[in-house]
Amino acid sequence: MDTFNINRFWRTLCWYVLENKNSLFKWFVSFSLAFMAMGVFFMYVMRNHLDDPGMVKVGMGQLVAFSTIIMFFSIIFANCLVFSCITKKQRRTAFLMLPATNMEKYVSACIYAAVLAPLSIILAFLVGDTLRTLIYAAIGHGWHSAVKEMWELEGGSIKNFGKPFVIMLWLGSTYILGATLLRKAHFPVVSAVLLILLFTFPIIMVKYIQHVGPVSIPEYVKIVVTLLLTVFNYCVGYRLFKRFQLITSKWTNI
């Protein structure tokens, strides 16, 4: 009864998504328009070279790279929205009082922030770019799709995407942990902490190598460690969520 129940979890997830569907829809529409506008801007810059396939390929490559960066940061930012809809006391009351286990509520919120919000951004890219492609094709500038370009990237196999995906999972879980602990400013705070780690970790590694000698860590070990860190982040996040209160200090959720 008070353990994880799949039916109740499904109901909780539906509840969370339905309560937030307007935000999700606004995200989707805004990103679709932004990606379309970005594509239009790229096409405008390349307006004199649209007949040159080589130049178009270079331009599309740049559009893909730029869109990927935008998507990456947006998806990371989306993870920070894990509990943004319950910042208000009224919504927080409704969510915390929902008859479901803490685990069911936490997993629902994480799925919303780590899966559904990122999916809406990816979908927005597909829609925005397709719209831009259709408009340009309709006015006689040919079929130049960034989505197609992205699909046909050289070396774009699952194997090559595995490592970035795992890193992204870990990054996302870190931002979720930050957003679970902190009531506000989670994105800048977590980013600052990550930057500090990014600068201090190589220094520690250099010191370590000076002592022990060069180390070679197999790729799979790095991936397993990253995955373990991801699980750790989610577990700590869950423990923090269990301590959520309606009224807390200005900065933290517990």
């Binding site: 009864m1 008070d2 109901r11 539906c14 009224q90 915390l96 301590r243 209160q245 009224i247």
Partner: protein, 275 residues
């Protein structure tokens, strides 16, 4: 059913304790009126009972289960109607469809009857309602949820005069033997006729914890014209009808209806404390 044992609570960042070594037991088939001056911790107590806040020490348990654990079997039995709440931008029907499955004893007939009593139609867009209408819809849902514990914080705030009467009718018509209703309010006249147990809270402690029956058996609430003797009076205050007074009820004397505002003033002034 509700057991509050020696709880102490203060808000994060505050040095002042809202409740200290506070204990209280609440049982079924009662409508409790929780009264107190501003800032005495009425809403905090409701949040602690519902598990939305965690006491610094002591524990609050409902049927033996600590409320802050927020387990589904306990949450299924609690519904809180806060003073301020938000309803999502959707139709009432959709709202009911997504929330109903969480409450095993949810009763659509009760919902429809409550809405009818509040003179509201069944098909509503929640974001198109006024604050008072939203409150009526939310209270109807709360009563239809069939939870054994219902907590209401200032339920009559924002309701117009006819709606306050409808509120009393709806609540009285939906009380059952296994239910506890706690109403925290300043609008004592709105709920006076409903209550059967009074809790008056002051900083950190309970000033009064007594049933309406006990209060009325012990004390008399009446009006005395100017010039009438006041020597047996425990507390009095001037009013349009003369002096509103609280006195010890005489043996064989007629039972008078409870004047909650007068009782509250008398208790908070320390004039009535024999329980």
């Amino acid at each position: 059913m509700i057991d509050i044992q020696n709880i102490s609570f203060r808000y994060a960042g505050s040095k002042e304790m809202v409740l200290q070594d506070f204990s209280l037991q609440l049982s079924e088939n009662n409508i409790y009126g929780l009264l107190g001056k501003n800032g005495t911790g009425k809403s905090t107590l409701l949040y602690l009972i519902s598990g939305l806040l965690r006491p610094c020490s002591g524990k609050v348990s409902i049927d033996g289960v600590e409320s802050f654990k927020r387990v589904p079997s306990t949450l299924e039995e609690i519904f809180i109607v806060p003073e301020e709440f938000d309803l999502p931008a959707m139709t009432l029907d959709k709202y009911v469809r997504i929330n109903e499955p969480f409450y095993p004893r949810f009763n659509r007939e009760v919902l429809e009857k409550c809405l009818a009593d509040f003179e509201l139609p069944h098909s509503l867009k929640l974001d198109a309602l006024s604050m008072g209408q939203k409150k009526k819809v939310f209270m109807s849902f709360a009563l239809a949820a069939g939870t054994r514990l219902l907590l209401m914080d200032e339920p009559t705030n924002g309701l117009d005069i006819p709606s306050k009467m409808q509120f009393r009718k709806v609540v009285a018509g939906n009380m059952s033997d296994d239910r506890i209703l706690i109403i925290s309010t300043h609008q004592v006249h709105d709920v006076e006729a409903l209550l059967d147990h009074i809790l008056i809270l002051t900083r950190n402690r309970l000033l009064l914890n007594a049933s309406v029956e006990d209060i009325c058996q012990r004390y008399a609430f009446e009006y005395r014209m100017p010039g009438m003797p006041l020597d047996d009076v425990l507390y009095s205050e001037p009013s349009m009808q003369g002096n509103a007074v609280v006195s010890m009820r005489k043996e064989g004397g007629v039972e008078t209806p409870l004047n909650l505002e007068l009782l509250f003033n008398a208790v908070t002034m320390g004039k009535v404390n024999q329980f």
